[in-house]
Point group: D2
């Protein structure tokens, strides 16, 4: 039985409490939030859970095995570091940290302490993403050529992070989970409409050596909500519409190949269009799957599906996107991930 | 009565013939295409129109007042130049030419010869675009903040132009028609999947000094057809879905404004969401409106709605997008349009 | 403060508990269900509520002011009668009872005892239905001509009631709430695919003297879920799609009128089509509104919005529909409601 | 080469001319319409076709082999009879005639004269209907349980026929083409909003001995256009949405079966839900397929796919629906079709 403390009871907090409540082999002991009205809300719905004002009441609590951090991004690093230093396993809401350096420091610390460090990329636990990963892994789509994602809505303007840091982690974590190739650079453009240097509309392109390309369109100022991702291979293509209640994934038996027309000195492209298939998906609540994976990973001393490497790579891309936006969209190369760091950690918590 | 010759009877040719057939004060005398089977098709449907193999049979025909050019982009300049030199008014399919220089040379020639030079940006003649222009002009949306367009489908790979040159002219012409501000730069990224340097997926951002931003997502390799444009103001926002049979335009009474929170040193954004309005649109066929405007502009010695300036500005942006893609997405400044040129021509064919 | 006991903790029970938990001026003391596993579920989520096996532990409990009955329809009458006899106010899940006679007996008893008897027609508390009622009451639609409802899905085959008794109460209660005219007859057809005389597909037409007509299409065996209602007037028409997340109501500025063509001896009908309006709706949870209305009606000694008259009229129509189906779809006249009964009760609990 | 004359150049006439123009082994010689402006329209688009004012100029023309009748229903019988008497093959727009008696008389006459008599039920030539027929014939759906069709829109009020005669022929012909079982009765209800006894909203149920049921919802007064048909089997179910541009047919791998629960004396129903399949359909224009089938049937002396038996059965059901509506929705038994008549004709024009 893993005893859990949750820091932060804002928008996402109640969902976390409810799902850790329902998860196996764990119990939620206390929840910290500095806002009294939030703790009152907690008490009304979950009378058995202790509400505390100070995160330290969780971090220093010897009964607590694992800390869940659901606070603004800028506080992730300090709270996670303190928790690790006090011997707690840590689950952080996405994105993991404000910078790659912070993320790497946390990973190193977790390894030293032999503790689990996990990032909550909830989408990896949906039936839709699981199906897409499997289709790509099974080469059903052929060679993957592009991923194109639109995630726009009328969203809360965040005071500390731009729209890419707020919305794109979902899509980038899906990308990193599904596509094995390592990208080499990004381009990003965006605009702020509030004079505070925080973009509320932004566009991100991620470049790969193989010719695969990924593009992300994020906005807090769209009157309509769109959650649409296309993944195209040369054999089949996927449309993933997360707003569809049941038909989230459509697999198009659509492909193309090209050959050179020697005579006319040009490329000819042949299309093939066919049936569409809409697979039945696992509909278990994703957040519950994430909670169960966190607890089980601690117990089994293994990496979870949403491993820190995906979390760190998401931050790496976001950090580069910031740099590109501030440099008028110019290409920013991605540093090679620190491989030694990765390897060492896998020894501790191997799959 | 304006006598018209049409050069090129490919995909778009039959639509042009049919609509000039139905337009007022004009008649189609002949159509040129080097492919015999195309001329046979023409003869079967329009037995009264003469089919010729050689464009010169149209350009040199003294009975013909105006030439419509519906051939590959790379041939636009030469055919239009010859036609102007032989005293014909000219309508060119979008995009106008392969380069700004070509476009400017054609405009200069048309001015010298006192002839009409028009580009067929058909969308400007749709009820949907007319409604959007009116809403923006009437300040119904408040201050315009962004335009975001997705135009993707399983499209014919063009052998001579990339997907932006093929698909984006529609959206850029709408942008230029609706938005009066002059952009200062573009960023574009893209990828080719056929090893011929011709991008089949590309993304374009157009930057403006006021903070307005425009973004275009174009692809020939999407399994689904999407034709969606968002135009957002701080008072209202428009969703334009061209695939909707009747509800093409939705006007969202959705706005936002921001203020500084002095105490917390941050920006607060307030939202307002309200009703949605779906206006009834004029459903006259756009191409017929374009054909009538071409003929009437010749007769009235005035600029058409789809004036050459819009056509040239589309090429200016496309040319810059090419440069940006080839330079890994870096920002490319747009040259200031040649104002003298513009002014002079307006004297000849004034509204 | 009204103390509430809930009988039945099946599919709908948890929603009732949760909303009475959140409602004003009331508390849930106990929940009865004969299935132990259901009581265990209850205890896990609501540790403060007492779970009891026997409905009598609620009916006989002197601390309980009001009983909520969420059990199979065939048990409604007996449980409600016992509750009233023991001085409890009563809320019954729809449909109110198995027959008009049962319903009338309950109403009479409630009047004698001076207690509130309410039926949970939750839809009357949605923003969509409230908006439609207002539009009809304000004569925005002109003269109302028809209501057409489709409510189909892959549904649980009920063992004791057919698909009309299961699904149509929602739509008939909306009809009765919005339309003031009293219908005079019904026709119904249907089919059972399980040899147990319980229709899983059924169609119902309700006839009115004014020429207004209402039609209901209900099925437990549709692979797709449809929740669509059309209400047509001669000035405007409404499309109500309950599955739309935000655009549930569309108001079409579409009308028609007719005149006689004396010369040709026939009727001419003129159409008018115009804009579409999508009003912003109140999005408060309907069940919470229902719970609050129940409690407030007890306290204020008034009839709730979902009054017993609507509940009884729903049963009256369902009862007649049964008779029509069993008589091969023949027309079944509706008895005039017992007006004396109605009047008397209004004196006790007047609006 | 079959020479064709077309009587009636109203709404549907231009489509017929265009497709017989494009069909194989036939030519359109003349088109008759009493309205001069219609003949002028014809002349503008089809200069090679002779426009005549009087149907007799077609019926008496010795050069014409086959007559296409596209006039109001009340005139079908007389025009078809005259045409047959003058030795012409006949194609009649749906519905075939105003009564079963008229239809049978035409069939008898066609047999005597050894001429083809065909009804234009265009939908039978769509890829969607062909696919559905094949799926049912191949027992892919298991045992067919129901067909439910909604065909509503803002439609032209017809002066001589009600909405069922106008719209339902499409759906009933599809039903008769796909389902082999003979129905035994119908129920229909409806309403007129123009005081001329011609229903503009009507509902039709068709009953079968096996427990299969078909239901049709037709309206000229819906603000939205709906073209939706469900066909449910116990193994799979089909959703046919004719307004979808490409995904017209969705096949749901959804089924159910039932068993008796001896202990609890009730029926238990098990569901199975699975993937959805969207087949690629033949997209050839249906009307062209119909035209080609008409010509080929004459040449090959065989019955067309849209044979007169389907046409007559459609009228049989419509006639019975009228009787049911006028008798307040009571069940009307369908007469057994005249089998001798059928048999005889098949000898002449056998498949």
């Amino acid at each position: 039985m893993i005893t859990i403390g949750i820091i932060g009871y804002g928008y996402w907090g109640p969902n976390l409490v409810r799902n850790f409540f329902a998860a196996k082999d764990c119990c939620v002991k206390s929840v910290a939030d500095s806002r009294l009205e939030r703790l009152q809300q907690l008490g009304k719905i979950f009378p058995g859970i202790s509400g505390v004002c100070d995160a330290d009441d969780i971090i220093y609590d010897p009964d607590i095995d694992a800390v869940v951090i659901a606070t603004p991004v800028s506080t992730h690093f300090q709270l996670a570091k303190e928790s690790l230093l006090h011997g707690k396993h840590v689950l952080i809401e996405k994105p993991m940290a404000s910078s790659v350096q912070e993320g790497e420091e946390l990973i190193e610390l977790a390894e030293q302490k032999n503790l689990l460090l996990m990032v909550d990329h909830t989408f990896l636990y949906t039936g839709a993403v699981e199906k897409m990963k499997q289709l790509v892994a099974d080469k059903e789509l052929g060679n993957i050529k592009y991923l194109d994602s639109t995630r726009i809505n009328l969203g809360l303007f965040q005071p500390d992070i731009n729209v890419l840091w707020d919305l794109a982690p979902h899509d980038i974590s899906i990308l990193n989970y599904i596509i094995k190739e390592t990208p080499y650079s990004v381009n990003a453009t965006g605009i702020t409409h509030t004079n505070n240097e925080i973009e509320n509309i932004a566009y991100l392109t991620i470049n790969y050596n193989s010719g695969f390309i990924a593009h992300f369109n994020c906005s807090w100022t769209s009157p309509v909500k769109v959650r649409m991702m296309l993944i195209g291979g040369d054999q089949k293509m996927i449309l993933y519409n997360d707003l569809e209640p049941t038909e989230k994934i459509k697999i198009y038996d659509t492909g193309y190949n090209h050959k050179s027309d020697e005579e006319k000195k040009r490329i000819l492209v042949d299309y093939r269009t066919g049936d569409i298939h809409v697979p039945k998906l696992n509909t278990t609540e994703a957040l519950l799957g994430m909670a169960n994976d966190f607890v089980a990973s601690i117990q089994e001393k293994r990496q979870p599906k949403s491993c820190y490497q995906i979390g760190l790579d998401v931050v790496r891309i976001l950090e580069a996107s910031n740099k590109s936006i501030k440099n008028n969209g110019c290409e920013v190369l991605l540093n090679t991930p620190n491989r030694v760091l990765k390897q060492k950690n896998y020894q501790v918590l191997r799959h």
